[in-house]
Symmetry: C2
Subunit: 224 residues, 2 copies
DNA sequence: CGACGGCCGATTGTCGACAGTCGCTCATAT
DNA sequence: ATATGAGCGACTGTCGACAATCGGCCGTCG
């Protein structure tokens, strides 16, 4: 199917750069739900023309971070607790169960080593209290596995779900979970993956993602 | 949250128009997985500049119908049976269960009448053998309910899932289900909704969507 | 004969300018 | 007072031109 797409990405286009900046601003809460996004202002602020801004906005729209209305502009969207708990997280579980299953045979030793490195870094970040960095590592852990699954649609959907979930926990779920625990949970998940027991992995994935919502755990604070 | 967005959409922008054309071409199979999409060609063909084309492509990319690679263009994507059965359909069930639940209290008599009209039209389309029209009505039925649920994220995600599922059944699942059956199933679903028993509705929704995958039913041919 | 490296055509990425639409304000009329 | 509707900013939507990058072609060299 792919005459294209067999190569590594060369460097990030400006559109992607803009999208990243805006995504960060939104998930961090610097831009709040209801805030208006004016293309000309953003273009001036980021030193580009409106074209890349517009395309980035289209992308964020599909990621559910932004809504836009013809001739009337764009605004930042919020996410309700109901949607996170009853829709986004369950969907994430469906996605990741499938992706981890497919990835199991494909993970190389290099991949496993990389995953271990990410977990190690999580420990460092956790003890340094660097919540942002911890969340980034968390995302990279999951994204690496999903990428290896080679299921394009899974990866694509994960990328549209994940920012919303992250935005919710960063903005709206104040109390962060025990940061050291995040690292530990990923270590456990990685160990199960190494074990190679398929069903055990799928169960672990499900529990791993579900943990955020544990009522006892009081709204864990990371994203994966 | 919305200073914007309280109004009706005025008319379809050219970008949306382009997106529709391409979506139709892809889901119908006229454009096949692997086909290259050249912006300049599309612009010429549709009589616009490249700007709306590019934005439409970004949108289709997020809908999983197209993949694009920096400086190297876009191509039509395919969907595997595994992804449809294990990812897209289960996600659809999650989405619609939630949306139907939220919509139950909000559906007005007008809405119910409109739904009934859609089902009636399905019967007509079915007996006339108009599969395309039947699928359109099917989509509109579900989209109306999801819209009424007023869960933006549900609607947004549904819109990104649905084209892939439709593309799969149109292109890859040859044998269509009994068309009259599609209409009948929607009538049953609507009747359960009228009944107002919440749990019954959720069950009905799940079964309704799942029906496509029944091994006995041999890959039913509609999209919802 | 195969590897390397610089051109070249094709196509995407970006820009600045112009056209179109929306919501608001404010005069005007009832 | 309240409605009406023309005018006006402030934006978004679209366009055509230009810049940057990619992949392949082809000559050169080991």
């Amino acid at each position: 199917m792919s005459r294209l797409g067999l190569r590594r990405v060369p460097s990030l286009s400006r559109r992607e750069h803009v999208a990243e900046i805006l995504r960060e601003a939104i998930t961090s809460g610097r831009l709040k739900p209801g805030d208006r996004l004016v293309e000309l202002d953003l273009a001036a602020e980021l030193g580009t023309s409106r074209a890349p801004i517009r395309e980035a906005l289209r992308q964020l729209e599909q990621e559910g971070l932004v809504a836009s209305y013809p001739y009337r502009g764009s605004e930042v969207l919020g996410v309700s607790q109901d949607e996170v708990e009853q829709v986004l997280v369950p969907i994430r579980i469906t996605l990741e169960r499938f992706a981890f299953d497919k990835a199991l045979d494909k993970l190389t030793d290099d991949d496993l080593a990389e995953l271990q490195r990410l977990v190690d870094d999580m420990l460092v970040a956790a003890s340094a209290g660097e919540a942002e960095r911890l969340a980034d590592l968390d995302i990279r852990f999951h994204e690496l596995v999903i990428t290896r699954s080679e299921q394009r649609h899974c990866l694509q959907m994960w990328k549209t779900i994940q920012p919303r979930v992250r935005a919710y926990f960063r903005r709206d779920a104040p109390a962060h979970a025990d940061t050291a625990d995040v690292a530990r949970q990923h270590q456990e998940l990685l160990d199960v993956i190494r074990g190679g027991d398929r069903d055990a992995v799928l169960d672990a994935v499900e529990r791993h993602i579900h943990i955020h919502l544990a009522p006892g755990g009081a709204g864990g604070g990371d994203v994966g």
